[in-house]
Amino acid sequence: MLRKLSLLVAACLLTSAALASAETLINGAGATFPYPLYSKWFSEYAKIDPTSKFNYQSIGSGGGIKQITAQTVDFGASDKFLSDEELKAAPGKLLHIPTVMGAVVVTYNLPGIPKGLKLSSEDVANIFLGKITKWNDKRIVDDNPGINLPDKAIIVVHRSDGSGTTSIFTDYLNGVNAEWAQKVGKGASVKWPVGLGGKGNEGVAGQIKTTQYSLGYLELAYAFENKLPYATLKNKAGSWVEPSIQSTSAAAAAAIKHMPADYRISLVNQPAKEAYPIVGFTWLLVYQDQKDKAKGKKLVEFLSWSLHKGQKMAAPMLYAPLPESVVKMVDNTIKSIK
């Protein structure tokens, strides 16, 4: 019995060793926002190329940038693009590869008003600056004829944890309001003039669901999945736009004319009529010169797959796919990886 068992163990060890030698393990770390999509990609891609095995740790954009700079992973992932300084700190040329886009919605809890609230960008900024404090402020009422807004204080909720969602949202406020730009600025965590901090999308959503007359911001996918109300915003072109996958992708299409070769661009407040204003890319960070050529080749194959086949999986999971014009550009960038 014992002999049989030990034979079995030996056989298992041998086969697993043989398997391991045929597999290429590609390690990545970074942003949490695209993690559900990435893990779907990895599992689907495993069916096409079983020899590539991906291991992705969603530790946050900050961690992703640190790890790819220290070369402890094969690719990083981030919701914010690197500054010139951060790029210089990396030991080689780091490429930003946009994968999909995300959007941020303004969500609220107004009893009796389950949908249809309209807010101008100036109003959103003033609410988060603490300058509009009541729901029946004239500036909000003027944009919402036919809706009876209550004489109640607006309870502002924001993310307390550093996040790409906050990055995109503060980038947007930064663009629409000079006072915000001067007093607060943009970043993954900022010094909020007013409001309560909730941890994660679930923390913010929880507080808004249970607190009447509150208002906050959430990742689009999270708000849609949980069927939370969202505001229609006035974009830079002056038209009212609902947040959606299409209006998110439209923002990147609008930016194609001045899309830099390294994709380090903020997509908020695009001037196109159909573009939703609070939108951003999420990127993979990859070295142009791959140290391990065999691994580099596998990585390029995967990136190219994700850019074409992978994009089709984005919309059902509520991520906005890259518009065709951007896909063409990124194709060339991926080919430059050696």
Partner: protein
């Protein structure tokens, strides 16, 4: 019977001879055992020292930039690169201290009920239910806190407090639900099982003769508890409270979800606050600037120092209390 005992005697004699013959080998084993255990104990110390060293080194950019301002300023602004940790220090110390104030009487009362008052079966069931509470992960407490407790506080408890005590600084302001008060309550709920189960063990260890003596002198149940049981278990109960405090000050997840995460210092229990572990958990993953992560590291160092001070203080307190206690310590 006789035969059996003589057999045992014989066995003992043989065993004795064996020990005698192995004495040289035995002392060798003793030495090795001593070295191994000492190195294990030493390893813990070394790990602690490495951790402290690493934290200090990582904090250096923040320490050299802000000096004492880090402890006295309340502005926390990652965009401008200004970091003052006073609101977090305040939030941690106040929330933990208040949680202890709420949890201690509750826990000691529960422990007394289990050991002294309830019938044995009821006591056992209560005790195991309370220990079950200790096994619930803190994120569950947090979710319950933000989805159930905070709305309840906002709709029922806090408006009442504002109506009746709103003029005092402790209950002023709008009721948000998530607040220092919510943080204190969730912490209190989380540390009750710890303090209760330690107190229960301590109280169970009080010799029956103590109780009988008190009863024999004509004491009522209350007098027996007050004069015979509690003084005997005092230092042990204190130990439980200190362990609870340790848990409270280090608790991250549950508090983060209900305290409102606003770096401000307000006397009002209805106002949101922020704690040291919360800010580290919230911001560390996305802290991209060097100074930001260094400042967070310094908050970690501060947390370590605060915990150390509390522990030393607690030891002194226990030492003093035990000296004054009439009964035996545990």
């Amino acid at each position: 019977m006789l035969q059996q005992s003589s057999l045992t005697m014989k066995n003992v004699a043989i065993a004795g001879e064996e020990i005698e013959s192995q004495k040289s080998r035995g002392s060798n084993a003793d030495r090795i055992f001593r070295i191994v255990t000492a190195s294990f104990a030493g390893a813990v110390l070394v790990i602690l020292l490495i951790m402290v060293y690493e934290m200090v080194m990582q904090s250096v950019p923040s320490i050299t930039k802000f000096h004492w301002d880090f402890l006295t300023k309340s502005s926390w602004d990652a965009v401008q690169g200004e970091f003052g940790a006073l609101p977090f220090l305040y939030g941690s110390v106040v929330s933990s201290a208040l949680a202890i104030l709420v949890a201690t009487p509750l826990s000691v009362g529960t422990a007394l009920f289990i050991t002294e008052i309830a019938p044995k079966s009821v006591g056992n069931i209560t005790a195991s239910l309370i220990e079950l509470l200790a096994a619930i992960p803190s994120v569950i407490y947090g979710l319950w806190g933000v989805l159930v407790m905070a709305p309840w506080l906002q709709k029922t408890v806090q408006p009442w407090l504002v109506d009746h005590f709103g003029s005092t600084p402790f209950f002023s302001g709008a009721p948000y639900g998530v607040s220092m008060m919510a943080g204190v309550l969730i912490l209190a709920i989380m540390i009750v099982p710890i303090i209760t189960s330690i107190s229960r063990e301590v109280l169970l260890a009080v010799p029956q003769s103590q109780r009988e003596a008190a009863i024999a002198l004509g004491a009522t149940k209350w007098e027996m508890i007050r004069m015979a049981v509690l003084p005997y278990g005092r230092s042990g109960v204190f130990g439980g409270v200190i362990l609870g405090l340790g848990r409270a000050i280090g608790e991250t997840m549950a508090v983060t979800m209900v305290i409102g995460n606003t770096p401000q210092i307000s006397l009002s229990l209805l106002a949101p606050a922020y704690t040291m572990p919360s800010v580290i958990a919230n911001e560390f993953a996305e802290a991209t600037s060097n100074l930001h992560s260094s400042a967070l590291m310094e908050v970690g160092l501060l947390l370590l120092i605060v915990t150390l001070i509390i522990n030393v203080f607690a030891r002194l307190l226990i030492w003093k209390v035990t000296k004054g206690a009439k009964g035996g310590g545990v």
